[in-house]
């Protein structure tokens, strides 16, 4: 399908469309900021034992990040604190200039999903969710939160989803692909059941620490450059697991957004899974339709990091394959590889296409209003 649209028309259309940004990362200013939100029994633990993750370091990364706080250099607030810690600065630098109508917060640090001490992990999730409510959602009505949950303790996760759903203000339950087991396996199903029952979207954001090689079967790679692009591979494995285990059949109302993996890999995953499903049908009794249809009809994908084809027009082919109704813009503010909505998708789009990607698809999947 070709669309003869003058890019200038697309840009002027853009200026009339308010934006929904599906991926913004807030962060605490100081380590002690979450303490008021922790119950007394866990406050002492927080100070002494703190984050206990699958990592060789107490705080550093064995694949060191390319920039401090993984962030753009210009996002450090003048008031002090790390990028993403100052709401006023976030408004000035990001929410207001891009005329963002809604932004979905995704909390990556402190990381809550993969704590080895499950009791502390659950307490930390509660604290992070209450912190979001009090210090972000309560002060900025354009923002919506993510319910952070302990994926390895589905019972605690279900309780937290119910608690946050009652409060409102949360657009999604946030999970990450790098669990102990692939996400489609039965032990995680209570989380999907809770998300479906409370009509909250499941947001799968890249990341997690499980001790496995980030490449999977190839073993431990050397460079951050390799580790970064392996995020998409973990996302593909997670979606493959969920599709093949029949999660989307078992939970027909579940909505899922794949976040921060880009989306150029989606068509190839569909082609590959369709071929394999044909050959392994009797191993996969829960799969009742071609996997590519599930990718097309039950999932949404955020744009960042935007693909940069050598010929920019080829991005339209990719969008055609995925479905223009499945694509949701995300900035990933304030991270170093974040996308500027004005320049990240340099293709001619019709007004309808532009509205869909930059606003309406996200409004729909997250039930924003």
């Amino acid at each position: 399908m070709t669309v003869d649209v003058d890019p200038r028309t697309a840009l002027s259309a853009a200026s009339k469309v308010r934006l929904v940004d599906c991926d913004i990362h807030p962060i605490i200013r100081h380590k002690g900021d979450l303490k008021p939100y922790l119950s007394r029994e866990w406050q002492g633990y927080h100070d002494t034992y703190g984050d206990f993750l699958v990592s060789p370091f107490a705080t550093a990364h064995p694949y060191p990040k390319p920039t401090p706080a993984l962030s753009r250099l210009d996002t450090w607030p003048p008031s002090g604190g790390p990028p993403g810690s100052d709401l006023a600065f976030m408004r000035d630098q990001h929410l207001d200039p891009h005329d963002i109508e809604f932004g979905v917060l995704q909390v990556l640090w402190p990381t809550a999903a993969r704590h080895r001490n499950l009791g502390y992990g659950a307490a930390l999730c509660r604290a992070i969710n209450d912190w979001q409510k009090a210090e972000w959602l309560g002060r900025e009505k354009r923002l919506r939160g993510s319910v952070m949950v302990t994926q390895e303790d589905p019972e605690a996760a279900v309780a937290e989803i119910a608690r946050c759903a009652r409060q409102g203000g949360f657009a999604q339950v946030m999970v990450v692909p790098r669990n102990i087991e692939p996400m489609g396996r039965r032990r995680y199903w209570p989380i999907f059941a809770a998300a479906e029952a409370h009509d909250i979207t499941l947001g799968c954001h890249v990341g997690g620490l499980n001790g496995y090689a980030v490449t999977g079967g190839a073993g431990h790679c050397s460079f951050y450059a390799e580790e970064k692009d392996s995020n998409g591979f973990a996302m593909e494995a997670m979606l493959t697991s969920m599709i093949f285990e029949g999660v989307f059949e078992a939970f027909p109302k579940l909505r899922l957004v794949a976040i921060e993996a880009g989306l150029g890999w989606v068509p190839a995953l569909g082609w590959r899974l369709d071929e394999l499903w044909q050959r392994f049908r009797d191993e996969l009794p829960a799969v009742r339709r071609p996997p590519s249809e599930t990718l097309r009809e039950r999932l949404w994908y955020t744009t960042q990091p935007a693909d940069e084809p050598e010929d920019p027009k080829h991005l339209r082919d990719v969008f055609d394959w995925i479905g223009w109704d499945r694509i949701c813009f995300a900035s990933d503010y304030p991270h170093w590889d974040s996308d500027d909505p004005r320049y990240a998708l340099p293709i001619a789009m019709s007004r309808a296409e532009h509205r869909a990607i930059f606003r309406d698809n996200a409004l729909g999947v997250y039930r924003l209003s």
Binding site: P66, R72, L73, D74, W336, D337, S338, D339, D340, Y343
Partner: protein, 138 residues
């Protein structure tokens, strides 16, 4: 026609530092490299990030995996967003240097002239120091 603009006193741009100024509505990033001053349009050719806010770095090179050389300390700027490296003196990107070595960018911006500009070159402007003031041609 390019005009010469006095943009700030040299004393306000110490060696090793950068400043962003606005001339004729355009933001210019100024860099003082050990007394020599260079100017780039404050807009990364990738996605428009403010180059003047980038970290100044040296040139890390290698002839062979596992060997690292470092030269020209502080003479490159890393875009504050996606980390692309630009030679402050010429505006040339250090991505694919083998491909781009042959290309040099004419530093004077004049209406009517054809500016040879690849996708990875940051626009650089002529700068001179006159009576302790930084003067940019734009």
């Amino acid at each position: 026609m390019a005009q010469r603009h006095v943009v700030l006193p040299l004393a306000e741009l110490p060696a090793g530092e950068s400043r962003i100024v606005t001339v004729r509505g355009r933001e210019i990033a100024l860099f003082n490299l050990a007394g020599e001053v260079f100017a780039l349009i404050n807009r990364c050719p990738h996605e428009g990030a403010p180059l003047g806010l980038g970290l100044r770095v040296g040139l890390s090179e290698s002839e062979k995996p596992g060997c690292y050389t470092h030269s020209r300390p502080g003479e490159l700027v890393r875009c504050p967003w996606h980390g692309w490296e630009f030679d402050i003196r010429t505006g040339q990107s250090w991505c694919e240097p083998a491909k781009l070595k042959a290309k040099s960018f004419s530093a004077s911006i004049e209406p009517g002239a054809t500016v040879v500009k690849g996708p990875y070159v940051a626009e650089s402007l002529p700068v001179s120091i006159e009576a302790h003031y930084v003067v940019v041609e734009l």
